[in-house]
Subunit: 188 residues, 2 copies
DNA sequence: ACAAGTCTACCTAACACTTGGTAGACTTAG
DNA sequence: CTAAGTCTACCAAGTGTTAGGTAGACTTGT
């Protein structure tokens, strides 16, 4: 049996993730995607049975990669330092050609996205909130307040990323995060 | 001169605003819009020269209505009470069939939206931040911190709205806002 | 007063184009 | 040879938009 070519499949996923972070599910189209990868649109169907499946696949990889990143942070640093570093994961998307996280597009497109994609993008939020909650608890917060606070931090950082992206200005993200810290909402 | 029928034009704008808040600029299409209004797609061109112009028109009305709402609040209440009431304006969109503010879609679709629409949606953010800044200053905050804090509050509330919408659960919005208040980030 | 002209508001029908998706043939490496 | 991987060549459905026409209400000159 011929060894499967994993290169194209991966190239498709990388390019599709970028496109989805820049234009959303609706803006993700096979012609531009194929061009970015260097193949013809029809060839994508050899690797993914449908657009929905492709999107679900990149969404899955997305939250799994995120989980790994967060684990890397919290296994190297104490809880408070980890929390301080949390905004960096969102900052990276902006640095990477002003893109935003898939979860933000979810809010915008939720009524127009296939369910199997929606489910995977939910998990991104779940992973983030669970990690934040764990860090808060480990840093001595009252157990009851951890999950609500985690959700609030997630919302606030996602909002900051959104506003910064809308102006294509990463300084706005930094400024907002700095204010969250100055107000004591985030540890500084 | 025959008196212009302002009813259809207004019906188009109301329906288009709802559609844009639910599906974004890309998801706003003339067939569904015309059906919602009760006319044929081509007839929309009698009132608006293009989709971009229609979108710009509703975006303009959007930030002007918002400015009026905020003025109503701050002229009836003291600055601190006004700030406390601020989240309500965002809550209304969620109550209205889980829609979000146009500015949030802007972040998602910014690279795919006509410039004339983009400009108008920017003004929505400007109006909000200017009002928040004014309230903060009037309530005794240091002048230098007002605008950064105003932007942070705007981002945080928009983020809360986004996360709540993604789950179609208005309780999440309330919970996040409550946490912003509990942490002292928002006045309570 | 009344016909001629003008304007509003909408229609039907088609336009050029883009979308996701399919069928089947070709190429190439093991 | 065989299967993976890619191709060419389509298609049906949907997009914003345009052209040209119609019914009826208003305005105007005589």
């Amino acid at each position: 049996m011929a060894s499967p070519n994993v290169i194209s499949k991966e190239k498709i996923m990388v390019a599709a993730t970028k496109m989805a972070q820049d234009h959303g599910y609706g803006g993700l189209n096979f012609r531009e995607l194929a061009e970015a990868v260097g193949i013809k649109p029809a060839s994508i169907y050899h690797h993914f049975p449908s657009k929905a499946d492709l999107a679900a696949a990149i969404a899955t990889k997305y939250w799994k990669d995120c989980a790994t990143d967060l684990e890397t942070i919290s296994s190297a640093l104490d809880p408070i330092s980890s929390l301080k570093k949390y905004p960096v994961t969102f900052r990276r998307s902006l640095q990477n050609e002003n893109r935003i996280c898939l979860a933000s597009f979810l809010a915008a497109e939720r009524t127009d996205i296939p369910e199997k994609v929606l489910i995977e993008v939910y998990k991104f939020a779940d992973v983030n909130i669970a990690w934040l909650s764990k860090m808060l608890k480990a840093s001595g917060s009252e157990e009851k307040t951890c999950e609500p606070r985690a959700r609030a931090i997630f919302a606030a950082i996602a909002g900051a990323q959104m506003i910064a992206r809308s102006r294509a200005d990463i300084d706005i993200f930094d400024s907002i995060v700095a204010d969250y810290q100055a107000s004591g909402f985030l540890p500084s």
